[in-house]
């Protein structure tokens, strides 16, 4: 028998065996709720993935220390897909079938989210608050999918319009990452300027991972921009601003929430002073924190031996929304009952200064607003309330 025929025989037998057993349904143990997350702990956005996971772990640990949710402990099952949709598909299937995940929270990266969402929804699991600007995460309306993060389009439109109006900028330009994130920001900025009957004077792009921005900055300077919107992440934000300052160009810049991080001023130092940023959650600074926030920061440090940042707050907040909704749902917890409870919940501002999250039966996007902040004396300072 040839190798090929032997392979066919073995594989066909295995597949036939597989077909005989039905796929798993939503099963909730009497003493445990498994929450799955397909994160990025080793890929290009691991800088977000690790603190988000730690924030969620911290909140679930607190809930478990208090006796769990209606007697059930919450277990966070984390899978690292490294921004790779192939690994993500396998990870989502593992979480559905092997770990019996009741819900998925904070899956990370658009390719990962788009590849795994059908698997999760088809299995009847909740798909909650993914880190992706894609509209498909909340539209069309699906009973089990909810999003908490506004598309970059919405809040960059509001932030750009507000800043251009308030500061009277005449020549707005854009530096953007050449992917879905950058394009989403571009649409928001263009819409804002169109509303003010202005045009985007210049736009230039870069590929993810770029470290040299000299040509882009030179091009923007040649266009005589007076405001540069940055659709960048932390490292690129610092590199772009440092390049501008190096050539003596003191232009104002506005970065999206992806650049709103303590690492931006920690890495950039004096070069990023004055940078405007959009914040959908404030950074947890220990200095000047309220008593409750200071205690939270201490607990985080003790648990993870690291400083919390805005991503830790996001992870903690998302887990908190889950815990509070699960409590409100009651002991008879099912994905459908959880979804109904979430649709009727209103989450008021917390110790971090989060916006109000509100869902309804017709709208599964919990928040559309960001606020403007600016780096002053080496830290982000909010300069507006949440913008409409």
């Amino acid at each position: 028998m040839s190798m090929l025929r032997r392979f066919m025989l073995a594989l066909s037998t295995s597949l036939a065996l597989g077909a005989a057993v039905p796929a798993g349904a939503v099963e909730l143990a009497a003493d445990e709720i498994v929450v799955g997350t397909v994160s990025d702990l080793s890929g290009p956005i691991a800088m977000l993935g690790v603190p988000v996971r730690d924030g969620m772990l911290m909140r679930f640990d607190e809930a478990n220390a208090g006796g769990g949710v209606h007697g059930r402990r919450i277990r966070l099952a984390v899978e690292d897909a490294g921004y790779d949709p192939k690994r993500a598909v396998l990870a989502a299937r593992k979480l559905v079938q092997h770990d019996k995940a009741f819900a998925f929270i904070a899956n990370m990266g658009t390719p990962v989210v788009m590849a795994t969402m059908p698997i999760i929804l088809d299995a009847g699991r909740l798909h909650l608050f993914p880190f992706s600007p894609h509209r498909a995460t909340y539209t069309p309306l699906h009973p089990l999918k909810f999003q908490n993060f506004a598309p970059y389009y919405d809040y960059m439109k509001a932030a750009t319009a507000h800043l251009v109006r308030a500061r009277g900028y005449a020549r707005t330009c854009l530096l953007y990452q050449d992917d879905d994130y950058g394009l989403e920001v571009m649409k928001g900025v263009e819409a804002a300027l169109e509303g003010l009957t202005r045009e985007l004077v210049e736009r230039t792009s870069y590929k993810r991972g770029a470290t040299d921005f000299s040509s882009q900055i030179a091009r923007l300077r040649a266009a005589r921009c007076d405001l540069v919107v940055l659709a960048t992440v932390v490292r690129e934000t610092v590199a772009a601003m440092a390049e501008a300052r190096k050539i003596g160009w003191d232009v104002d810049m506005l970065v999206t929430a992806s650049g709103y991080s303590a690492q931006t001023h920690a890495l950039g130092g004096a070069a990023v002073e004055g940078l405007y940023g959009v914040s959908v959650l404030p950074h947890p600074y220990a200095e000047g924190a309220s008593v409750e926030l200071a205690a939270w920061i201490e607990r985080y440090r003790a648990r993870f031996n690291a400083e919390p940042n805005v991503w830790s707050v996001m992870g903690y907040t998302l887990a908190d929304l889950f815990v509070r909704t699960a409590e409100a749902t009651g002991p008879a917890l099912t994905p459908a009952a959880f979804a109904r409870a979430l649709e009727s919940m209103q989450f008021t501002p917390d110790i971090f200064g989060s916006p109000i999250y509100r869902f309804s039966a017709e709208d599964h996007l919990g928040n559309r607003h960001g606020r403007l902040a600016q780096i002053r004396n080496g830290r982000w300072v909010p300069i507006t309330d949440y913008l409409d």
Binding site: L11, Q97, D180, L183, R208
Partner: protein, 319 residues
């Protein structure tokens, strides 16, 4: 020459047992759906791996941008299906797109050889990725696009079993075609060029045409894999087909054994299935070890190094 039936049966069991064991362990540990999902991707990657085996293992060319050919197949399939063409009818077009891409990528081989030619395939991959990101009216650019499920006359391959069977059928056809090609003068010409290009030319073989043929076949296989990949993942974007994917395919061929067709299947099993298996074992680790970032990739790297050291000719090659 006659062979002992008992010995042949023992040999068959020895060769088939690992496959059966792998799938049964996956089913037992993870459940049927997961095992079949994993099998689908292994089989799909194996098809793309066959393309690398033909180009690298048989024709002896350095191909560093095979993911670009997979991308051409995936995008052709996605665009045609989104325009209403049934998936089975779109597949020949995806195969053709991959084959044409392969021919294009092979053109520098007329003037370049060795590593220099390898660099040109790398450049080709970068151009394709950039082109897909820029041609927004068709590809939706960097934003990517959703791909409908695989559907044939109202039957939809939406279960993991159905997807695995479609991929298995495609792989078996691909294996059979490749086997036939290797037995014909094409295969002999590829191997002659691989072993000694000057000697092959002296025997009347045109190396440039032979290399182009290998790339055509390799591209067609990559296009087929891309078409299926697009359906199974359901969302494609240019960044998915970057250099990391190309190197994965190259690793796949070398791990499995670049000189044997079955090397692509074994290599795909290692590349696709080992990281999630490591993730399972990781879950059993105590305390903070279980949540150490990137642990799977570190162990995966160690496994690859071990395979290369212990089986330098690949899993299907002679040790």
């Amino acid at each position: 020459m006659r062979t002992d039936p008992a010995a042949a049966a023992r040999q068959a069991v020895r060769a088939g047992l690992p496959w059966l064991l792998v799938v049964l362990v996956a089913v037992a540990l993870l459940g049927v759906d997961y095992a079949l999902g994993k099998a689908t991707l292994v089989l799909t990657y194996a098809i793309a791996g066959l393309g690398v085996v033909v180009v690298v293992g048989q024709a002896g060319q350095i191909a560093l941008g095979q993911a670009a050919l997979v991308a051409l197949g995936a995008y052709t399939q996605a665009v045609l299906v989104r325009h209403g063409l049934p998936a089975p009818l779109a597949i020949p077009a995806a195969v053709l797109a991959g084959a044409l891409g392969g021919v294009l990528a092979s053109l520098p081989a007329r003037r370049l050889g060795g590593l220099y030619f390898g660099m040109s395939t790398l450049a080709f991959a970068l151009i394709v990725e950039e082109g897909l990101a820029r041609w927004e009216s068709v590809t939706h650019g960097a934003a990517g696009m959703a791909v409908p499920g695989f559907e044939v006359f109202g039957w939809r391959a939406d279960s993991t079993l159905a997807q695995a069977l479609v991929s298995l059928a495609a792989l078996l056809i691909a294996l059979a075609v490749c086997r036939r090609l290797l037995a014909l003068h094409h295969g002999r010409a590829w191997r002659a060029v691989r072993d000694d290009e000057a000697a092959a030319a002296a025997c009347g073989i045109a190396p440039a045409a032979v290399k182009m043929q290998a790339f055509l076949v390799g591209g067609a296989l990559s296009g087929l894999a891309g078409a299926l990949y697009a359906h199974w993942i359901g969302f494609i974007s240019p960044e998915q087909f970057g250099l990391v994917f190309s190197f994965e395919l190259l690793m796949l061929a070398f791990i499995g054994g670049a000189r044997r067709l079955m090397g692509a299947v074994w290599g795909a099993l290692v590349i696709v299935a080992i990281p999630p298996t490591i993730a399972l074992l990781r879950d059993a680790l105590p305390g903070d070890w279980a949540r150490a970032a990137g642990l799977e990739m570190v162990v995966f790297g160690a496994v690859i190094v071990a395979v290369v050291l212990l089986r330098p000719s690949g899993l299907t090659g002679r040790s």
